[in-house]
């Protein structure tokens, strides 16, 4: 059930995350599993979440994660409902957007956090966007036998675009708990303050 919760959180980060907000699981309140013949295994979860930038506030969430039977190539289905309001990050998002848009040279960075766990404050929003991107990867690639966490952002490069989206090409390291492997993954993320984030299909 903890593995299903990680998928739900990854999915939520992809949907609602941004440079100003980082959702994390505080507690898995309740979990139940249902085996559906010829379909797969469905987990019903009650989660308590917190924003890493505002730990005093928590938000509850119910989620359903369906792992499809036998299918190695299809992502689990996730449905979730967030109870209550997530903190608004409009100001911070706008500020970040303008800052990046006005950079003369495209942003490039490596090893976030570094070996000692440090993240320079100006790179924290990039770190959080990496969480969004890896949330997508985790959701898409999880099975009942895996539990992924973002271990480190190995490399990030901004790519300037002609439209209004920001584009970041990430190489992230994902730590898979069951096998203990640390796997590099390339993922491109587009983000816009109003439209949110998406991983373009290539």
């Amino acid at each position: 059930a903890a593995r299903a919760a990680a998928v739900a959180v990854g999915y939520l980060r992809y949907l609602r995350g941004g440079p100003g907000s980082g959702l994390q699981l505080r507690e898995l309140r309740r979990a139940r599993r249902q085996d559906i013949d010829d379909v797969g295994h469905k987990y019903y979860l009650e989660l308590e979440l917190e924003d890493v930038l505002d730990k005093d506030r928590t938000v509850n969430c119910t989620a359903e994660v369906l792992y499809h039977l036998g299918s190695k190539t299809s992502a689990p289905d996730v449905q979730l409902t967030v109870q209550g309001e997530l903190r608004s990050t409009e100001e911070a998002d706008k500020e970040f957007y303008n800052r990046i848009r006005s950079l003369e040279k495209e942003l490039v960075a490596e090893n976030i956090p570094d070996s000692h766990g440090n993240v320079p404050p100006e790179l924290e929003p990039i770190h959080l966007l990496a969480w969004v991107a890896s949330g997508y990867v985790i959701w898409q690639n999880s099975t009942e036998n895996t539990k992924f966490h973002l271990a480190q952002v190995k490399h990030v490069k901004q790519v300037k675009r002609n439209d209004e989206d920001l584009q970041f090409d990430f190489v992230v390291l994902l730590h898979e708990m069951v096998s203990q492997e640390v796997l590099p993954w390339e993922v491109t993320l587009l983000w816009h303050p109003q439209r949110g984030a998406r991983v373009p299909q290539s």
Binding site: V52, G117, A151, Q180
Partner: protein
């Protein structure tokens, strides 16, 4: 263009040597413009005799390629890049200069920290610095002794701190950290704990009565080869660094190598896997040294080991999913310890058997110790729960060490009584 390639490469073949220092080595950052250029670089990468060391491998046009080039090949590689119109810049002019400076910095920093009163327990340190601090502790406290219980695969000493106020082979407690080298908060915490125990003896009632009755053996860096590797090469390295016959992959998961359900579920027989159990139980000298030491001593009552991350407090079994005979006592003691941990900063640790709490995993250390008569066998997974994972910020070392210590103390007090 390909003819030119072949000509230049044959010149480079003649120039390749076996190098031991990095004098004159340059690190270039190559900016590829398109797939064609990426392919050129991948071709370059495949020429092993050039001994190019790619820090970032060519994969996609958008990502830079960083490569370390041995001195003899620098001019030729640059000529090749220029002839192909591939852009590059020099990241490091002379790698040896950079390494010399780094070494100098570390030596200076180490010299500043020669006495325990200036050792920064709230920072991450190199193996050399840690070993120096062990010497400091041993020299500062009469009841603390540094002993060597063996050597790692790469011949590094395995140093254990023995805390003993007298007696002969008193009932003893074992504590180790860093068996998985990337779990840096554990070696760091072990050092703080060593200092805490040493300095509190004589003033803290509980520690004093503990050490008056029992001995404590603390192995802060159970996997020194892996630890050095995380500093110089790959921060995410977990296993030992032993060469595996018949495989290009290196290292065995030292916590799948113990003789407890060895080779069973939850360990891999693939040498390239992070949970490779090794060719046989105790094949890893790092594991065998501990096994021999504990068996020869013959009077250990508790076996405690530190890992990260996930915030868990576990007892046997991992290799099978059935409860140990002492389930009730271990569960209750585990909960009491978790409670103590929580009392400091509110950090919650989940308690349970390894199999139920984390996953089925065979060949683990506390299963071995438990099956060999050491009842109080516990494995801790320290902070955090995934936000930073292995890369826990240094400013969390002290809080992690302090809260973990409360849990360990709870267990030790129970063992004492």
């Amino acid at each position: 263009a390909n003819m030119k390639l072949i000509l230049i490469f044959s010149a480079l073949i003649g120039a390749s040597l076996c190098l031991e220092t990095f004098v004159g080595h340059q690190v270039l950052r190559i900016k590829t413009k398109n797939e064609e250029e990426v392919k050129q670089l991948q071709l370059l990468e495949s020429l092993e005799h050039l001994q190019l060391d790619f820090w970032i491998n060519p994969s996609a046009p958008a990502l830079p390629v960083d490569v370390r080039i041995p001195a003899v090949s620098v001019q030729s590689v640059k000529a090749f890049l220029e002839s192909q119109g591939i852009q590059y810049s020099i990241l490091i002019e002379d790698l040896q200069d950079v390494l010399d400076k780094e070494k100098q910095d570390m030596v200076e920093s180490a010299q500043r920290q020669r006495s325990t009163s200036t050792f920064d327990f709230g920072a991450y340190h190199t193996l050399d610095d840690i070993n120096a601090e062990l010497d400091n502790l041993a020299s500062e406290y009469s009841f603390v002794e540094k002993i060597q219980i063996g050597e790692s695969y790469e011949k590094r000493p395995l140093y254990v701190l023995k805390f003993s106020t007298g007696g002969s082979k008193r009932p003893a407690i074992w504590l180790d950290a860093g068996i998985h080298s990337r779990e840096w908060v554990t070696q760091a915490s072990a050092l703080w704990i060593a200092n805490k125990i040493a300095s509190d003896y004589g003033t803290d009632e509980s520690i004093t009565s503990l050490l008056d009755k029992m001995d404590l053996f603390l192995l802060p860096v159970a996997n020194p080869d892996g630890f050095v590797y995380t500093h110089v090469s790959n921060r995410m390295w977990r296993k030992t660094r032993s060469k595996i016959p018949g495989s290009i992959c290196v290292g065995v998961d030292p916590n799948r190598n113990w003789d407890a359900g060895f080779g069973g579920p939850g360990a891999s027989n693939n040498p390239c896997s992070e949970s490779y159990h090794g060719p046989s139980a105790n094949s890893e000298v790092e594991v065998k040294s501990v096994v021999d030491f504990i068996k020869n001593h013959g009077n250990f009552k508790a076996f405690l080991t530190l890992h990260s991350y996930s915030q868990l407090l576990m007892y046997p079994y991992g290799y099978k999913c059935t409860r140990p005979d002492d389930y009730a006592e271990l569960e209750s003691l585990g909960r009491a310890a978790a409670s103590s941990i929580r009392s400091l900063y509110g950090t919650t640790f989940q308690v349970g058997t390894i199999c139920k709490t984390i996953y089925q995993a065979s060949g683990g250390s506390i299963d071995w110790s438990y099956d060999n008569g050491i009842k109080y066998s516990f494995a801790f997974e320290l902070r955090d729960t995934g936000r930073y994972g292995f890369l826990l910020p240094a400013n969390q070392i002290l809080p992690a060490a302090k809260e973990t210590w409360l849990g360990l103390k709870k267990i030790m007090e129970h063992v004492r009584d």
